[in-house]
Amino acid sequence: MDINILLVDDEADFVETMVKRFGIRKMPIDSAKSGQEALTSLAAKDYDVIILDVRMPGMDGLETLKLIRARAPLTEVIMLTGHASLEAGMQGMNMGAYDYVLKPADFDDLLDKVRKAFERKQLNAKARKQGA
């Protein structure tokens, strides 16, 4: 089963490495450099999991998370941060993020979380279909 993944981070090096590493596992992922760009991508494609950096110039991660949750409630979001900010972490979780990963992210850990987030999205979609 293919997972539609979008990585949102302003750090070009990090994005490049991640795209490569997912690619090696035959899991192509899309990327966006900002919250604004992420929302544009989201309007064009139905993503299963979005990996979202908390600290970005312009629209920050939490603001972006809020808009993602409003526009695509089924899409699961994993927050990513280099600076462990407890307050931001709590806000993110309270705003409906699926999980949190600290940078430097352990790739296998991240992959595992992406899979779990995807599983949840599918369960959620199934429950909604049955409820509708």
Partner: protein, 332 residues
């Protein structure tokens, strides 16, 4: 939104199951039905014996005396038994009531606050826009003349700052009231705790606080809603971190029995005053200065744990810290 058909949750008014059943479990089933014989005996034996005493008075006063003593004894014993049963039942009823009331209160307040937040969001957005527009106009006016608008601009900045604060509150309220239909997955609780603890670690180290994990590596997986559990754990750990002084200690532990999995977050901080312990799960109850606490953390935890069909409880001695325990059923 209609509920999913494959899950049939109990009616919202009664999230803890049949109250009579809980009462019976809590008191060890001492209800009228199971004990009608005993109660009949309790009411009938003393008058029968008393009648015997009267009859015996006519025969011999000594026999009457002995019988009277026996009657009094039996009546006293049975009255005591009845009393203790009654008070046990009463206690169980009270405990049950507080739980139900708390859940219903939270649901009602959640709805109310979502309504208010929703209504207030629009005017707040308009105020923000207008303030921005006014700032723009002043900027334009400034270009053409030599007058100093610094104070007006300052005041507009303040308007913006306060509007942002309001927005923050309404958003927290909306999050608080957001209905979360749990999605069940196999969850590695140890890992969730460890992940959330790592988020707290850095901030804890600034305060020189140690966050101790006592987590068995063979803890069974739990079928529950992962992000909800993360939220609960993170909120409880954050509260503990706020409660402890520099150099304090927080301990997170977990254990499982056949029925449930228990997570305990214990700190050696300021503890909770006895007069507050009944209030801490209420929305908006906070002892933190304005701007630092919203008082929504614990009430949200309560609602989330309810949703996971679990229980959250607290034990605290003021000055000696607090321990929050979340008990989640292994089969839901």
């Amino acid at each position: 939104m209609p509920r999913p058909a494959n899950r049939a949750p109990e009616p919202a008014s009664d999230p803890h199951g049949d109250p009579k059943g809980i009462l019976a479990r809590a008191t060890g089933a001492r209800l009228w039905k199971d004990h009608s014989l005993l109660l009949w005996a309790h009411f009938l034996v003393p008058p029968v014996l008393a009648a015997l005493v009267v009859a015996a008075t006519f025969a011999t006063p000594i026999l009457a005396g002995i019988l009277a003593a026996i009657v009094l004894g039996i009546a006293a014993v049975s009255a005591r038994g009845l009393l203790s049963r009654l008070s046990q039942t009463e206690e169980a009823r009270l405990a049950l009531n507080t739980q139900l009331i708390q859940s219903q209160k939270l649901a009602a307040i959640g709805e109310l606050s979502a309504g208010i937040a929703h209504e207030i969001n629009n005017p707040i957005a308009i105020i923000a826009q207008e303030a921005e527009w006014a700032a723009h106009l002043i900027g334009e006016a400034e270009k053409g003349c030599s007058a100093d608008f610094a104070e007006v601009k300052d005041s507009l900045r303040e308007v913006r700052a306060q509007v942002d604060r309001c927005k923050n509150i309404t958003h927290k309220l909306l999050d608080f009231a957001r209905k979360r239909e749990p999605v069940l997955q196999d969850v590695d609780v140890v890992r969730i705790i460890e992940d959330m603890a790592r988020l707290v670690d850095k901030e804890a180290s600034y305060k020189n606080v140690t966050l101790v994990r006592s987590l068995p590596q063979d803890l069974p997986k739990l079928r529950t809603d992962a992000p909800l559990l993360r939220q609960v754990v993170l909120n409880l750990m954050t509260n503990a971190l706020h409660a402890v002084d520099t150099g304090g200690r927080i301990e997170v532990s977990a254990l499982a029995d056949d029925e449930a999995l228990e997570i305990c977050i214990k700190d050696n901080g300021c503890g909770i005053a006895p007069e507050n312990i009944d209030k801490i799960f209420n929305p908006f109850f906070t002892t933190k200065p304005p701007g630092q606490g919203t008082g929504l953390g614990l009430s949200m935890c309560h609602t989330l744990v309810d949703g996971m069909k679990g229980k959250i409880s607290v034990a605290s001695k003021p000055g000696q810290g607090a321990a929050f325990t979340v008990r989640l059923p292994r089969r839901v």
